[in-house]
Structure formats: C-alpha cells, structure tokens
C-alpha cells in the first residue's frame, strides 16, 4: 500500500487517537477473556507500529508494555502470598500462617491453587491491557498537539501539565548525570545511600530548570491578558471553580446511595453549565490564537469511529450477556471467542490504514539523538 487512501501525509488529530485508544481500553475493561485481551494488545501494537512518529514521545509504547508485564507479575505475586485459595488443583503447598479469628479474611502463605493463580492472571492482564491502550495513545499523539485542542480558558492549566510531562525525561537525564558525578567522585553509585545523595542535586536542578523555563515563557508573552481587567479575570476563575465544585458534589450525590435526590442530577447540571459559561466567557476575551490547528476530517472520524465501535461491540456483548466475555477460572475452561467482540476488534485495526501517514521529514530521516554525556 502506498501512502494513505484518504489524505496526504499529515498528523492525525490527537483527540482522534485518544478516542480510539480509550475505546479499546473500555472494551478491555469489559472482559477477562485472555484471548480477547491479547488480541486487544495486538491491535494496539499493530496500529502503533504502523503510525508511530519517530519522536521522543513515540517511544513510550515499549515502556507501557513493560509496565503491563510488571502489573501482571505483581498481581499474580500478591495472589500467591496473600490471596485466598479456592479450587482443587493444588500447585504448591507452602507453610501458612494462621491468624486469630478477628483477622479471618487475611491469609499468608498456604496452598496455592491453579484456579486462584489463573484468576489473578486474568485480572492482571485486564489491567495491563488498559494501561497498554493508554500507552498506545501516548505514543501516537504528541502531548503538546493535544494541548492545542484544549479550550482557551483551560490553556494555562494545560501548559503546566505538558511542562510537567516533559520534565519526566529531563529528570531521568538528571539522575543519570548525578550518578555519573558520584562515580567521578569515587562514591558508590548503587544502594540506598547513593539514591539519597543523588536526590538533592536532582531536585535542585529540576527546580532551577523550571524557574528558567518560567522566565523564558514570560518573556515570550505567555499569559498576556490584552484588554481584560483584573476584576473580570478573578470573576472568571471564581466562576470556573464554583462550577467544578458543584459538578463534583452532584456526581458524588448521584453515585453515593442515600444522599438526597435533589442534590444529584440538578447539582451536576448546574455545575456543568456554570463551567461552560466561564470557559466560553474567557475564550471570548483570550488573546491567544492557534498555529495550524489540526483539522478534524474524514480520517479522524474513521479512527475515532473505530474506537467507538469496538467499545460498543464489547458493551453490547456484555449487555446481552454473550458467553465468552468472562472466562471462568473455577473450574478452568478454555476461553471461547465470541463473534461480536471479534468483529469490533477487526474494526479497531483499521486506523493502521485509515490514519494518514506521517510527514516525510519525520519518518524519512532518523534524527540524531544527543546522548547525555
């Protein structure tokens, strides 16, 4: 296949990637079937390998894969040590500790059964899959491009989030530098004391960098207010804050049983509408403009649509209680492959083709990555 069927090479709107990835994640949350979960991971990996940019954030998928493995290992490990055993297939007999009756639910050691390990594995795999879906969005969509689509009123909040995100790799580089320095001074580079000794310079460095960045942003016009008065600005923030608090109370009242009915939905609605008013208000007075905003066109609809459809297929299967979404672990049975979710997953692979290819300069040339000394 040469190029894309739908557009010239360009960046896909980051929100489309997020909708697609969250759709996959929502699908994953509805099943414990290891076959379906593995297929979801495979779909995410396929699309990432087809449309991942060669940029620093593009490499985060591997990190999320590793994180997923760690999650499974931890979940199974916790089950081995603390989990209540059930089922009949005993894999291993460990000496157990018997707690007094008032600690009845807690267990340490004891028999390990295949069924309980399997259940823990399914559970861990589900969480890992959700994380990997988020990782896919992370590596496909640049965080700062996503920021561009944030409403103007929330822009400043968004900038702080992005700056915080870029500091993470910076922090890793700093830790590396400090460890280097410790070796140069003939000190141990491993162990608790080394970490404690390195923490201070790393944090000092991070703080110093953020102050420099703040100065640079200030001198480039960040936070210019144009004609808007200070009183109006304060009024706006107050409005936004009130709205958010009201929305939170409303949501809580809706979920928590036993709270007065008047507090639930009406409160939520009032909160949301106050927020929207405040955002549109400040959007009208904000001086900021956007440089080459990403368009939302057919490819975006197709990618986001694929995400919505895969989520719907799993939710639908769940709704009609289609067999195969949950794989029973007691007694262990071979997982089935239900048709509807499979169809949904097939649709979820389409972004590998329907998303536009990336601009040539990024994928054509391998950028020279400066290696920290």
């Amino acid at each position: 296949m040469t190029g894309s069927l739908f557009t010239l090479p360009r960046w896909l709107h980051p929100a489309a990637w997020w909708v697609w990835a969250l759709g996959l994640a929502a699908a994953a949350s509805r099943t414990t079937n290891p076959l379906l979960l593995s297929l979801i991971i495979a779909v995410a990996a396929l699309v990432v390998s087809a449309r991942k940019p060669d940029a620093p954030w593009g490499r985060s998928f591997i990190f999320f894969l590793r994180l997923g493995v760690a999650v499974i290992v931890i979940r199974v490990g916790v089950q081995l040590i603390f989990g209540a055993a059930f089922g009949t297939t005993v894999l291993l007999q460990l000496p157990g500790v018997t707690f007094p009756s008032w600690l009845a639910g807690v267990r340490l050691g004891g028999d390990i059964t295949f069924e309980s390990v399997l259940l823990a594995f399914y559970d861990g795999l589900r969480l890992a899959t959700i994380l990997i879906c988020v990782g896919a969005a992370n590596s496909l969509a640049s965080p700062s491009r996503l920021l561009k689509s944030v409403p103007a009123a929330l822009y400043e909040f968004g900038v702080s989030v992005v700056v915080a995100m870029t500091f993470t790799p910076q922090l890793v580089a700093d830790v590396d530098r400090v460890r280097t320095a410790r070796r140069l001074r003939g000190r141990p580079t491993k162990g608790v004391r080394a970490i404690a000794g390195a923490a201070m310079p790393v944090f000092e460095g991070a703080l110093e960098k953020s102050v420099t960045l703040a100065a640079a942003m200030d001198s480039r016009g960040y936070g210019r207010r144009g004609e808007i008065s200070a009183a109006r600005r304060r009024m706006n923030s107050l409005l936004l804050l009130t709205g958010l608090v009201a929305a939170c109370i409303g949501t809580y009242a809706l979920i928590a049983a036993g709270s007065p009915a008047a507090l639930g939905l009406p409160m939520l609605l009032v909160g949301v509408s106050v927020c929207i008013t405040s955002i549109t208000w400040s959007a009208r007075t904000a001086v900021r403009t956007r440089y080459r905003p990403d368009p939302w066109a057919l490819p975006e609809n197709l990618v986001a649509g694929a995400g919505v459809l895969v989520a719907l297929s799993f939710l639908g299967a769940n709704w009609v209680a289609m067999p195969g979404l949950d794989t029973p672990s007691n007694p262990p049975t071979w997982p089935a492959l239900p048709l509807l979710p499979l169809l949904g997953l097939l649709i979820a692979t389409t972004p590998a083709l329907t998303a536009p290819t990336l601009p040539r300069t990024i994928i054509g040339k391998l950028p020279r990555i400066e290696v920290p000394a």
């Binding site: 940029a55 620093p56 954030w57 640049s142 965080p143 700062s144 900038v159 700056v163 870029t166 530098r177 400090v178 280097t180 320095a181 070796r183 140069l184 001074r185 003939g186 000190r187 141990p188 000794g197 201070m200 310079p201 000092e204 960098k209 420099t212 960045l213 703040a214 100065a215 640079a216 942003m217 200030d218 001198s219 480039r220 016009g221 960040y222 936070g223 210019r224 144009g226 904000a286 001086v287 900021r288 403009t289 956007r290 440089y291 080459r292 601009p359 300069t361 990024i362 391998l366 950028p367 020279r368 990555i369 400066e370 290696v371 000394a373």
Partner: protein, 540 residues
C-alpha cells in the same frame, strides 16, 4: 530604541546594587556587545531590557528604562514580548513546544496573531535562519548550534524590534558559532533589528559589533563606545587586537583581514625566527597514562567513536577538538569508565577503567564534567571540601588547600551555587585534584569563563603538566588550544582525523587556526606571547 536613565538595580537581600546609575542610549539597528567579568552585572543589564529584572527576579529598580518609548516599570515581560525577544543562555531550557515549527509559532500564538500571518512568518523565519530541513524535527534531536538558531528564530517570529542574547556562542563549535553570528548580522542589516548581546569570546564577535558596553562590576560606572575606541585600551581584548597593540598598528585592526593587511612588516621581521617548540620541560617522559586501541563506542544505532587508537603520556596537554557531537565527550567519559566500549580496549595502568571502583578510580583518572556544578552537592564550600577529602581518602584539608591555591578569593561559607561559573570550575578542579590523579580530563572547561579566569586556568594546567600530570581537554576554544596544548587531536564523526603537535594540526585547518596564526601565516606562530618573546629577542 533603548534608554537607561540613571538606573540602579538592587537584588533582594543584597546590600550593594548590582548596577549603579547606568545611563545608556542604544539607537535603533545597532549591534551592541556587552562585555565584563562573570558576576559583574551583564546578565542583569540584559534582563532589565525586557523587564525580567525586577518583575520576575524581584529587587528594586530606580531610574527609568524605556524601550521604544515603553517603560519597563509598568510593562511586565509578557507585555513587552512583541517588542523585545530574549534568547536565554541555554536555549533548551526555554523551549516550550516539541518540534521546531511549533516552537517558532509559540510566541506568535501568545500574541494572538492571525493564523495566516503566523504561517507566513514561520516560513520566512525558516528561510532566514536556514532551518527549513529541520522544521518537523523534535527539538531534543537537534545539535547545539541548531538549537541556538531555533531559539533565535522562535523570538524573531514575533518581529521584535530588539533582540537580547546571553552568550549565544559559548556552547558552540567554531563553525556553528559562525552560522549563528552570520544570522544575527543579517537581521541587523536586512531587518534593522537592534541586537544586544553578551559574550565572553571577543575573538568571535568583536568584528560584528557597532558598539561595545563594558560592565566593570563592583559599582564602577559602565563605559560604552565604538569597538576601536574601546579596544584601544581595554584590559581584555581578542588576540587580533593584542597583536595590533604589540605591533603598534594604527588604526587598530579588529578583524583578521584588516590585521593581515597591516602585518606585512611584522611577518618580515619574524622570518627566520622559529616559534618555540612546545614541550613541557622536565616532566615529559614516555610513560603512557592511558592507552586506547581501536576503541569503538555506540549508542544504539549511533556510532559515537570509531576505531580510536591513542596514547596519552605524562607531561602532555592534549586538546581534543571537533564539531558538537563529534565524540569528544564520549571519549573522555569512556576514559573514566562511564561508557562501555563496544569494541577495542581502554587501559589505564594496565586496567580497564570500568573495572576500577570508588576511591581507586579517583586516584588514577579525574574528570571535570562539562557542567562542573554536577560534582557539587554540599551546601557550603567548606563542606564540599571535607566530603572530597573523605571520598578521596586523603588527609583532611587537602582539598581546601588546593582550592586556596586555585581560587584564593572563595570563602568557606559560600553556597556552591552562588559561586561564579569560573569559581565553580576551579572548585570542581580542586575536588578532582585532591586525589592527585595522574590523568586529568576536562570537558569544555572554558565555557562561560571570562578572560582573567581563563588565564588562571591556563597557568594551573601548565603547572600540572610540569609536575607530571597528563591532561586532556575537550574544547571548542581555538585560542585556548593554541595557548596551552602540546598536542591536538581532531575528531570527526567519532574518528580521529588529525593527531599531532599543536602547530602542525592547528595551522593546517582554517577552522581550528587561532587568530594570530591566520594573521601571520605562512609563518607558524600561534599566540601573541610567542610573538612578543620573539620581538623582544629581536630588539634586545
């Protein structure tokens, strides 16, 4: 364009003002060079132009600063963003976006320019600074010179009338520095931008300046004038000016070209005199301190060093030169065992430096890293010295005594972060030297150093070589290499492309030749002091 009217600035907690009663008028379209010792208040002067001082840093400002008629007292930096563009010392620290094109547009987005205007200006700026090929590249993947150009471009898109730069070339190799300066020159000539720039490396910039402002520090009044006036009696001057003064050329040349045209008689005078051979007397013997054989280092797909075979002996001062990213830092860090060789060997005293651990390492090889502050972690100078004695397993007070020799003015109670760039370097040097490592490695030691500190460093390095140390310094500073090195190794793309005595290597390359060599070619003289010695001999 810029008017300082009786300006004094005092930082919070300080008893003395940093700048006292500054009166300065900078007309439109001038390129102004601000020089002065580290800590003299240069950066404060620059940052006052867009109101970062005192709006961002705190402190009190008396008097008035007007930029294009706008008072900085009532306009915070963000409101002056359309008028003054500021490029910070480390461009990477000021980047907000993640690709070149977005970074160029960021300032305009803040100003609220129309999308079509933004698009046009980005394209123009990409062309103006030669960044077209880099437009979609992530900023993290750029070289130091490219980053500097992007940083300049990112403030230019807002069409500021004033551009302020803090040491724009200090981290750059000679080639990249020339690119950046050429771009600035073009702005001044074609767009009538007023440029105010601080720079220590006078030899690189003095020929471009229309006016020089000297900030002497210590409450002395600042002086400003045309470059030839100011260079006539300035205590700090680039080699071309020093040579001109020595030879008594009138008018004093500021460029190599002018000096060359005046240098005919001097060249004749010096014919038949050979420049002295650079050998550190007494200490030199052939004991190898470190040997590398076919050394190859790679980072993933990037080959940082390729088949590097070299030997460093006692009493040698080796300058390691080459572009940004040529592998200089990698070679130094491999020599202290921070990097794993993919192929080939490194041996110091018959051992692989990676195998040497803890105090034993500091007793055999010492490295002063590019940012000497990395080595420092205590909260006082005295504490730093004590922990250094402890690390190196030497008698208490060794480091402090060394520091007193290197930088007598440094006080015990000072926080290392409050030291000047140069003092921090000397403190790091004292820490490394406390263990008396026979092999001393320095990565970019003169970045951000003023001339007096540089002169002190040169003296220290020579003395160390005489006492039998072997020294390797990675540097972009051709004048430093010409001054102090006995041997030069040039790296390109990880390979050794030249290795030999300073005279041979440096004279053969237009990029690495010092100013004196360019002026007096084909005679092989490298420094003003060599010429001075020969002239004294001639007369006497």
């Amino acid at each position: 364009m810029i008017n300082f009217e009786c300006v004094s600035i005092t930082y919070p907690g300080a008893t003395e003002p940093v700048l006292t009663e500054v009166n300065l008028q900078i007309p439109e379209g001038e390129l102004v060079l601000v020089v002065g010792r580290t800590g003299s208040g240069k950066t404060t002067l620059l940052r006052a132009i867009n109101g970062l001082v005192p709006h961002f840093t705190g402190g009190t400002l008396t008097g008035r600063i007007l930029v294009d008629g706008r008072d900085t007292a009532t306009n915070p930096p963000r409101e002056l963003a359309d008028l003054v563009g500021v490029v910070p010392q480390d461009p990477m620290s000021g980047f907000v976006a993640d690709t070149v094109e977005e970074e160029l547009a960021y300032g305009m987005e803040c100003l609220g320019l129309a999308p079509d205007v933004m698009r046009r200006r980005v394209e123009e700026t990409l062309d103006l600074l030669g960044l077209v090929d880099l437009r979609n590249r992530p900023l993290l993947s750029l070289s130091a010179g490219q980053r500097q150009r992007v940083a300049i471009g990112s403030v230019l898109t807002s069409h500021p009338k004033v551009l302020v730069l803090d040491e724009p070339t200090s981290a750059l190799d000679p080639g990249a520095a020339e690119d950046v300066l050429a771009a600035l020159q073009r702005l001044v000539h074609d767009l009538n931008v007023t440029v105010v720039m601080a720079e220590h490396r006078l030899e690189r910039v003095v020929q471009y300046a229309d006016r020089i402002v000297i900030v002497p520090g210590d409450g002395e009044p600042i002086i400003s004038g045309t470059p030839s006036e100011m260079m006539g009696n300035s205590p700090i001057a680039p080699p071309v000016v020093e040579l001109g003064r020595l030879a008594g050329w009138q008018p004093l040349p500021l460029t190599v070209r002018d000096a060359r045209r005046a240098a005919g008689p001097l060249r004749e005078l010096l014919t038949g005199h050979a420049a002295p051979l650079r050998i550190i007397k007494g200490a030199r013997d052939a004991t190898p301190l470190i040997v590398t054989d076919k050394l190859t280092v790679r980072y993933g797909a990037v080959v940082a060093l390729k088949n590097v075979s070299t030997t460093i002996t006692r009493g040698e001062i080796v300058a390691l030169m080459g572009r940004n990213g040529a592998g200089k830092s990698t070679l130094l860090s491999t020599m202290v065992g921070l990097r794993l060789a993919s192929a080939g060997v490194v041996r110091t005293n018959g051992k692989d430096p990676r195998e040497i651990k803890g105090p034993e390492l500091v007793h055999s090889v010492g490295l002063v890293p590019q940012d000497p502050g990395d080595l420092l972690e205590a909260s006082t100078v005295a504490g730093e010295c004590r922990s250094s004695d402890h690390d190196a397993n030497v008698e208490l007070g060794t480091t402090r005594a060394l520091l007193a020799l290197l930088a007598p003015e440094v006080m015990d109670g000072t926080h290392p972060r409050d030291l000047s760039e140069g003092q921090r370097l000397l403190l790091a040097l004292a820490i490394v030297l406390a263990a008396r490592p026979p092999l001393l490695l320095l990565d970019e030691p003169t970045r951000g150093l003023d001339y007096p500190t540089k002169a002190r460093l040169v003296k220290v390095l020579r003395e160390l070589a005489v006492t039998g140390h072997g020294i390797v310094l990675a540097t972009h500073d051709v004048e430093l290499a010409a001054e102090v090195a006995t041997r030069v190794i040039v790296l390109a793309e990880g390979e050794v492309v030249a290795d030999g005595p300073t005279h041979e290597v440096v004279l053969a390359s237009p990029m690495f030749a010092p100013q004196v060599a360019k002026i007096l070619a084909p005679e092989d003289w490298l420094t003003v002091s060599e010429v001075r010695a020969a002239m004294i001999e001639q007369v006497g």
